[in-house]
């Protein structure tokens, strides 16, 4: 077991010139030759749709795959808040450098500087591109674009389209993609799930998909494979992710050799609607802008079951204001989330389940009037009332943190290529730009940066250097037979178990373990417990899961079984990564590593690196490789919000 020092392949030079120089130095493919290359793009969210569209426009032959009935439905669509860019339209002191600096710092110094700088650089092109596509961003009366401050940023750099920015950006990328579908440059495959990566001579050369309507396993060959398949937040069962969001494409690539980086970095969002009971299927996020006017509190007395408005002022604990007098209710996401859990663990949680805290607007309504609050948050209040049947203008909201985003993902170099040649990973599916914590309005930026403005250059360079088209690989190659049979056997096995518990039972049980031990705060004992409990649960799953039906038709349970089998493996790796990373950083809080103020305490001497895991077999110890992180432009400091 030799530990590799991974090379991120960042070209040498000043961080602000690296990308421009690299673009010049990369090789090009002659326009007439581009049509000789085939590219598979898995996923049609912001990263996948923008990549598919841009590559097809350049002349490559693209095959695009999505799990839903239409590429327009990928979960990028649910992003509410906005997208950052360093345009500095408001003239408030923003710049590419400042966006770069804020993003590295926000990620708690666990991201690659050069990647983040490039992200900040192309952020401006993204806004231009989206406007040109007809994305209806919010505007001022003078007709120019409107900006707002988001997630505690000191400049107004966030562009938005009402509370539906993700939807509008995705529909922009989707329409660009459909334009190419209409021209025949993209072949679109909907209701398909990637189930295997096909490797030939150590390179990614194709995929096996399952047709969700017919159950058929299908083969697709190409010169490169792009995974744009999102994050793995649904390992927790309950999250703000969509029901079909899953880790399977990335995980199966991992099992074929792609390293998985920083799986323990997960983001837990503090302002979600709490769960109502055992039948809960997903959690809904509300914009964290609510904390600008809402006050967070719990009763001082544990187990106080009185209605919130009957609890007098002096029997309430506004714990964030008490503990963090200068930031109060506006502390960062991870601090707010951890504190809510602490209050619930102390028995002070509210509502019927006792797993929630209050977010109270009554003081804000008294101060500003109901109309002002309605103007600011009306749509969020309506959404809350629709789901909970409570009127937040009259009684405090109940909120609780929920898993929202995963910063970890498949390891990629500066060119977005994994350690497997020909396998590229874009958007949330890769680990690259957010370090240990993602800032608000940065996810949309990264997905589109990767797809519109990075991959069109780096993929061409790969093709020019490696010339995969010179060794044509067809779907009749034996590597396809092998991958096909692996996938077929796996589904056969799942159908043949015929145990007692449905798939969801195992998913929920896994979720409970993950949330308890690999959630907002982690410690050695809990993580070890998680690893052993997940192993046991996985064994039980393969003995006792009940999957009805056959594999020749729509079989939703079979689809889910395949995905949950993968969650049962990645969950263990998440716990293992969290165990090995003995420091706290960003969204990863190790109780053993905190400051006197209970803040996350980094250990830059021992952990200023990316951990990238190599798969060695399901029940074998994986190998932890590292990529050292160097900070030449941003100074490492300790956060404090007192």
């Amino acid at each position: 077991m030799t530990i590799k020092k991974l090379d991120g392949k960042v070209p040498a030079g000043n961080v602000s010139e690296v990308w421009d120089n690299h673009r010049f130095n990369m090789k090009l493919i002659n326009p007439a030759n581009k049509r000789k290359f085939n590219v598979i793009v898995v996923g049609t969210g912001l990263a996948g749709a923008s990549a598919a569209a841009s590559l097809a426009e350049l002349g490559y032959n693209v095959q695009s795959f999505c799990i839903q009935d239409s590429p327009r439905r990928a979960h990028s669509i649910a992003a509410q808040g906005g997208i950052n860019a360093a345009k500095n339209y408001p003239n408030d002191g923003d710049s590419i450098w400042r966006l770069f600096y804020d993003t590295v710092k926000g990620g708690d110094y666990r991201a690659r500087e050069a990647n983040v700088y490039r992200l900040a650089q192309v952020s401006n092109n993204i806004i231009d591109q989206c406007v040109a596509q007809g994305v209806p961003f919010a505007r001022e009366y003078g007709g120019t674009l409107s900006n707002r401050s988001f997630g505690g940023a000191q400049v107004s750099r966030t562009f938005y389209a009402r509370g539906q920015t993700g939807q509008q950006l995705l529909l922009g990328a989707y329409s660009a993609m459909m334009k190419e579908v209409g021209k025949g440059k993209i072949k679109l495959y909907t209701r398909r799930e990637m189930v295997e990566l096909v490797m030939v001579d150590g390179k990614a050369r194709g995929i096996i998909t399952r047709n969700i309507v017919t159950g058929e396993l299908e083969r697709f060959a190409a010169d490169a494979v792009l995974l744009c398949t999102g994050g793995y937040g649904n390992a927790y069962y309950l999250s703000t992710n969509a029901m079909a969001s899953n880790c399977s494409a990335a995980w199966r690539a991992h099992k074929k050799g792609a390293y998985f980086a920083n799986p323990c970095y997960t983001q837990i969002h503090p302002t979600c609607i709490p769960m109502h009971g055992e039948n809960q299927s997903k959690l809904t996020l509300m914009s964290e802008s609510l904390r600008n006017d809402g006050r967070v509190w719990v009763p001082k007395k544990p187990g106080d079951k009185r209605a919130p408005n009957d609890i007098p002022e002096d029997e309430r604990d506004y714990y964030l204001e008490r503990k963090y007098p200068s930031f109060g209710n506006l502390v960062p996401r991870d601090v707010a989330s951890r504190n809510a859990k602490e209050q619930v663990d102390l028995g002070k949680g509210v509502g019927a389940t006792g797993v929630a805290v209050y977010l109270d607007f009554l003081d804000a309504i008294k101060r500003d009037g109901e109309d002002v609050i309605r103007q600011k948050y009306g749509n969020l209040f309506d959404m809350y009332q629709r789901i909970t049947d409570d009127n937040p203008y009259e009684v405090p909201m109940r909120i609780y943190p929920a898993v929202h985003y995963t910063m970890g993902g498949l390891w990629v170099d500066y060119n977005l290529m994994s350690n497997v040649p020909g396998l590229f990973v874009l958007g949330e599916a890769n680990f690259s730009d957010h370090g240990a914590n993602r800032l608000g309005a940065s996810a949309l930026m990264q997905g589109l940066a990767d797809g519109y403005f990075v991959i069109p250059y780096t993929l061409g360079n790969y093709f020019a250097n490696e010339k995969p088209n010179e060794q044509k690989v067809g779907t009749d190659h034996e590597a396809f037979d092998k991958a096909y049979n692996e996938a077929k056997d796996k589904y056969q096995q799942l159908l043949s178990i015929n145990g007692t518990q449905p798939v969801d039972y195992y998913h929920k049980e896994l979720g409970k373990i993950m949330w308890e031990y690999v959630g907002m705060s982690r410690n050695e004992e809990g993580l070890k417990k998680a690893i052993s409990q997940i192993k046991d649960l996985r064994k039980q799953f393969w003995k006792d899961v009940k999957v009805p039906g056959e594999n020749t038709n729509v079989n939703v349970e079979l689809e889910k079984a395949g995905r949950v089998a993968d969650f049962l493996e990645i969950g263990e790796l998440m716990a293992r990564d969290a165990l090995e990373r003995k420091e706290s950083c960003g969204g990863h809080f190790r109780e053993e590593s905190q400051t006197e103020e209970n803040e996350a305490k980094r250990d830059d001497e021992n952990f200023c690196h990316v951990a990238a895991w190599e798969f060695t077999g399901v029940d074998n110890e994986p190998i932890r490789h590292v990529e050292e992180l160097k900070f030449e432009n941003v100074k490492l400091t300790q956060r404090s919000y007192k």
Partner: protein, 255 residues
């Protein structure tokens, strides 16, 4: 949680159809202990959990984000697309909208252009084909001028956003007696015609999208306005008027 904790017993009548070629039929189910705080789809999850445990085939239905934005969920509930609440997708509908002892009839979207895959799952790829025919601005990546180069009146930007809010769920088609896709098509045509970036090719766009819509077997508009009433995003029927203007403009002035 809410305040209503009394659980309900329901009679469900659900369309079951094994595959596209199967004839299909309504099947009755009784479901007990339904919490009013559950969403409609969580109620179906509960039914499916029971069916699986009994060794029966669970009901297939489309859903994904479960927060009312992806447009994947559908369902005719007691004859209404997305159920009884205004501007609410099925996934955001909660069981408190029903009463203990209610009979609930659940059917798929029914339209010639949307063949059924299984049970309540239909094929809506016709909508993608319409977008591919012209629902875009012909601008390649990298061709864009500065985002603020062309000022757009706030009023137009807001109207474009109103139209762009469409989630492509196809409730408009399902609730129209002609199975017309005009609200969907007009929403995209309006969004892009209202913005200077999309205006340049607005005539060709209207002609191409309308032609594709007709080709795929969607019906015509006879001003019933059921589409607007059932739209979970409140897309305004005036968009159809704007589409007709764009279409006629195209017919009159194109060479």
């Amino acid at each position: 949680m809410g305040n209503n904790t009394v659980s309900m017993n329901l009679n469900l009548k659900i369309w079951r159809q094994k595959s596209a070629t199967d004839k299909g039929e309504m099947v009755d189910y009784k479901l007990t202990d339904v919490s009013p705080d559950m969403s409609f789809l969580e109620m179906l999850d509960m039914l499916n959990d029971r069916l699986i445990r009994e060794g029966k085939d669970p009901v297939a239905f489309d859903h994904d984000c479960r927060e009312g934005i992806c447009g994947m969920c559908s369902l005719m509930i007691n004859g209404q697309a997305h159920g009884p609440e205004r501007e609410t997708t099925t996934c955001q509908l909660h069981m408190r909208s029903f009463k203990n002892g209610d009979t609930i009839v659940i059917e798929p979207w029914r339209a010639k252009a949307f063949p059924i895959h299984k049970d309540l799952m239909v094929d809506r790829s016709a909508f993608d084909e319409i977008i591919a025919a012209g629902g875009y601005v012909s601008v390649n990546t990298g061709h864009a001028p500065d985002a603020n180069a062309i000022p757009i009146p706030k009023e137009n930007a807001d109207l474009a956003m109103d139209a762009a809010a469409c989630i492509g769920c196809a409730a408009c088609v399902a609730s129209c007696k002609n199975a017309s896709a005009m609200l969907f098509v007009s929403a995209k045509i309006s969004q892009l015609a209202l913005l200077p970036q999309g205006e340049a090719e607005s005539k060709q766009r209207a002609e191409a999208m309308v032609a594709k819509m007709d080709e795929l077997g969607f019906g015509n508009c006879t001003n019933e306005a059921e589409c607007e009433a059932s739209c979970p995003k409140g897309i305004d029927i005036s968009n159809i008027a704007r589409m007709n203007r764009e279409f006629i403009k195209g017919g009159l002035t194109n060479r």
